[in-house]
């Protein structure tokens, strides 16, 4: 890994990283949580963390690295047979041992084998969510040859010695290849590879339907070697995504002449001859390569912020595809400003038909797939959300290359937060639904989904540890986004935006873990915020604010039996001459998270008194004497704490307070009248 040399020396920052390193040990998953066959490196080692510094140098793009450390380069040629849905591939992989250890074996991910049969880990683990049905047609990858070329070694095809399966496990997505000799740190290998793919019918991001082909996870891909010499290899799990080293992909695609190609990286050569179209794409500083080929793609090009954006869409989808482009037009500059400039020349947006929707909503370097039926009402912002979300992955997955199996919240969760923020900034309160006066925000959708499952299991765990796909979605995506959005609303957009921006810039082309994220947030927002994050992510942290009581009464003198000067006097309580009211409210915080909150008290004359509670302690009482009676109290009136489990108990009213439910009665009756008119004679 190439160390960063432009960061300023900053002792407090260093100490915070060291503290974070210690925290890493506390956060290390137990043996129970870690899947047995895949030795996952959950975070960068503490020693590695302590070296590079963060700090304000990463608040703008001046300190951004220009390129990633080129660890693995792929030079491949792929020939598509669209009738048989097969790809013949061959080429070379150049790989460098960037660890500090000798390497005796290589691990290759053959993820297309996830769709080979129902004994694959992917199909055995179906727990709901996308890709839960077996493909209509199986897919696989057969490696034909893997010749290892290293200095002082006779080139040998090592594939016959490869171990494709583990004992007792028929999964074929994670292959071990013994090396002819130990590979020393810094040494480079060249692998000559030949392989044949049979694509599945579209399932989970890849496959074919008719002449449509979406090609992802299609080549033998070397797993990432962590700095300490441990391979971060793992089978293709049902809920997990990927993890790899950065490098340069030089891929030549050979398809029938009538087909349009969309692929990672810019087209550097294109020829048409002998009924075949041959395109060469080269892209550096990325960790994957995907492509699509179809003879029905329509194309549209636009330059946005200096980036050539290509939009591929089916006939009849121009309206919804235009919404993709509008989303990119907003989000590309927005994300660039917030998380560091987009470093690539091109971006390809692929909008598939609905009959291949499993190919949609996916991210690859410089290529994203969006989605949505051709007839999506303008007030339903699903296409916009999908496009913005997948674009956000160019940062949280692409440029910050976290381990998507070990810590899925670091890519999907942070990216969901980026999506929520961007959609809110772009479309306001109606950022998810804006239809007939009903305005639902993306942030509130996430909060509602997340809060219902807050107690089920931790957010910060490996993807294959989640019990269900629903929990994976609600916790990894929605709860992380709800946490970040809560912090943004409570502590300010400036600070939280700066923390996320600093994290994204500091770890561009790196492979950080939760420790690094928490350390940056601690650096920018303080230890208490980092603790709130840690509790929420790792320990099912939760909070529920409650307006317990609201009372008000006319101010009266004290009554009772008093012994004064040896005489017993029975004093009646009477209204004070100066008048006024004694009012009090009690608000409560349930749960493990401490968050500051506003408390708004509405008086009989309509005025509002707002108090601030730092959230410390179990409850807080506000009492006062005033000229006007209290009517009601609302905790968190601005809905800043989206993590609040229950907003219904955030309100309390005095006996004369509250506003009733006339609006609901009026609307429900009206809608029912219309429904009756539709069915009644």
């Amino acid at each position: 890994m190439r160390p960063l040399r432009h960061a300023r020396e900053d002792a407090p920052v260093r100490s915070s990283f060291l503290a974070a390193g210690a925290l890493a040990l506390a956060l290390q998953p137990t043996d129970d949580a870690a899947p047995a066959p895949a030795p996952i490196q959950p975070t960068a080692p503490a020693a590695d963390v302590s070296v590079p510094l963060a700090g304000p140098a990463f608040d703008d793009d001046a300190a951004l690295p220009t390129h990633a450390d080129d660890v693995v380069d792929y030079t491949l040629r792929a020939t598509l047979d669209p009738a048989a849905h097969t790809i013949h591939g061959e080429g070379t992989i150049t790989w460098r041992n960037t660890s500090t250890a000798m390497v005796r074996e290589l691990w290759l991910h053959l993820y297309l084998n996830a769709f080979k049969n129902e004994r694959s880990a992917y199909l055995r683990e179906r727990v709901g969510g996308r890709g839960s049905t077996a493909p209509e047609d199986w897919g696989w990858i057969d490696v034909r040859k893997l010749v290892v070329r290293a200095p002082d070694t006779v080139p040998v095809d090592e594939w016959p010695r490869a171990e494709l399966k583990r004992p007792g496990d028929d999964d074929e997505t994670d292959a071990r290849v013994p090396m002819p000799r130990e590979i020393a740190p810094g040494e480079t290998l060249q692998l000559d590879v030949t392989f044949d793919d049979k694509l599945p019918a579209v399932v989970e991001r890849t496959g074919y339907r008719g002449s449509f082909h979406m090609v992802g996870q299609w080549f033998p891909k070397i797993a990432r070697l962590e700095p300490d010499g441990r391979w971060a290899h793992f089978p293709f799990h049902h809920l997990a995504e990927f993890y790899a080293d950065y490098g340069t992909y030089d891929v030549t695609l050979d398809v029938p002449a009538g087909f349009t190609i969309g692929a990672t990286g810019p087209t550097v050569e294109r020829t048409v001859a002998g009924g075949r179209a041959i395109e060469r794409h080269i892209q550096g500083d990325v960790h994957d390569f995907a492509w699509t080929a179809w003879d029905r793609w329509q194309t549209f090009h636009e330059t946005i912020g200096g980036v050539d954006v290509s939009l591929l869409y089916p006939r009849g989808f121009i309206r919804v595809a235009a919404r993709d482009m509008a989303s990119i037009r907003f989000a590309l500059p927005y994300f660039s400003a917030r998380y560091g400039r987009y470093p690539y020349r091109v971006l390809t947006v692929v909008h598939p038909q609905n009959d291949v929707e499993e190919a949609g909503g996916m991210e690859y370097p410089t290529l994203i797939t969006s989605g949505g039926p051709w007839l999506t009402p303008p007030g339903i912002l699903d296409p916009e959300i999908t496009a913005v979300h997948e674009l956000g992955h160019q940062w949280f997955y692409g440029l910050v290359g976290t381990n998507e199996l070990a810590w899925p919240f670091l890519d999907e969760g942070l990216n969901q937060a980026a999506e929520v923020d961007a959609m809110g900034r772009w479309r306001g309160a109606g950022s998810a639904v804006d239809l007939l006066g009903l305005r639902i925000s993306d942030a509130n959708l996430q909060a509602d989904e997340a809060n219902g499952r807050a107690h089920d299991e931790p957010v910060a765990q490996s993807a294959d540890s989640f019990s269900t796909g629903d929990n994976y979605g609600a916790l990894v995506y929605a709860r992380t986004a709800t946490l970040i959005e809560t912090l943004r609303r409570v502590y300010g957009d400036d600070a939280v935006g700066r923390a996320l921006g600093r994290y994204a810039r500091r770890f561009r082309f790196q492979h950080p873990g939760p420790v690094e994220l928490l350390a940056i947030f601690e650096e920018v927002l303080g230890a208490h915020v980092a603790e709130t994050m840690r509790a929420t992510l790792f320990h099912e942290g939760w909070v529920d604010f409650v307006a317990e009581q609201a009372v008000t009464r006319e101010a009266k003198t004290e009554g009772g039996v008093f012994d004064v000067d040896g005489k017993r006097e029975d004093v009646r309580s009477v209204t004070k001459r100066e008048g006024g009211f004694d009012s009090a409210v009690i608000v409560r915080r349930r749960g493990t998270l401490v968050l500051p909150v506003d408390v708004a008290m509405t008086m009989a004359d309509g005025t509002t008194r707002v108090e601030h509670w730092d959230g410390e302690g179990d409850s807080k009482r506000f009492a006062w004497h005033g000229a006007v009676a209290l009517r009601s109290v609302v905790v968190d009136p601005e809905c800043r704490v989206l993590l609040d489990q229950n907003v219904e108990n955030n309100r309390a009213a005095t006996e004369d307070g509250g506003g009733g439910a006339w609006k609901t009665l009026e609307r429900a009756t009206y809608w029912m009248q219309l429904a009756l008119q539709a069915v009644a004679p």
Partner: protein, 299 residues
Amino acid sequence: MSEATATDDLGLLTTDAMRARRHPRALLGLWAWETALAALVGLPLASLARDAFGADPRGDGALWSPGGRELLSFATRELHGLNAIAIAAVAVLLAGAVAGLVPMAATMTAIAYATRDRKAAGVIRCVGEGLRQFPAMVLLLVIASISQGILVAVGLAAGSIVEAWMHSGMGEARAQQIEGLLLLVFVAAVGAIGVAHDLARAAVVRFKVSGGRGLMLGARTFRLAPVALSWSWAWRSLASLAPIVAAAWAAERLGGRGGIALGALLILHQAVVLARVGLRTSWLARALRAVDTSLRRVA
């Protein structure tokens, strides 16, 4: 002008006199009937909302605040209550579809008949007529509903087959657009059955005949002027959508506020409902005139 036909103590009005606008009380009666039924659903829903957000100074206005935080929370946390209310709403709709035949027939009686001294028929007599015609109306409803249901099912199946056939060649969007066009043909046919159904109802009221006989008379009336009658029904149906759209536009601007804004919205919404009752009743009056005229033409 058709001859008046004596039925009990009520006399049939002339064809031209069968006008909905001459019976505002009947219209109000229909509106009141629909409002009462709708309140059976609105009241428990409002009660649920009051329990959840009644303590808010805006009351349940919080439910309708931009962003939908409270609305989503309400939908999630009160799911069981909302499910119960949804089932009740379906029951009310079914009851409204069947029991509503009585006020409908009563309204048509009010439009078509008067007392012998030319006074309005009166609520009791009209409702009595409605109750008497209820079995015939139910028979017509069952026949029309089954016919329309079969047509919808056939339309969906045909559309699906055509879409699948064209999908690979024309692409998803074009294939679905053609499927939609095909479905529109079936929807038009369903509408035509609806028109014939209303004409049959009018025949039952006008001629005091059984459901089967009314069906034949209604079908015959429709055959005599299918385009004119379909258009007469269609423009009123289309026109009845306009106030809904206008009210939605206004509601969006009035937002979740209470007080005067809520009062204004209440008046506006009820004006919409009343206008739609008026258009529907106007069509039923037109159906009465049509069957009356067809009888004369056949004679």
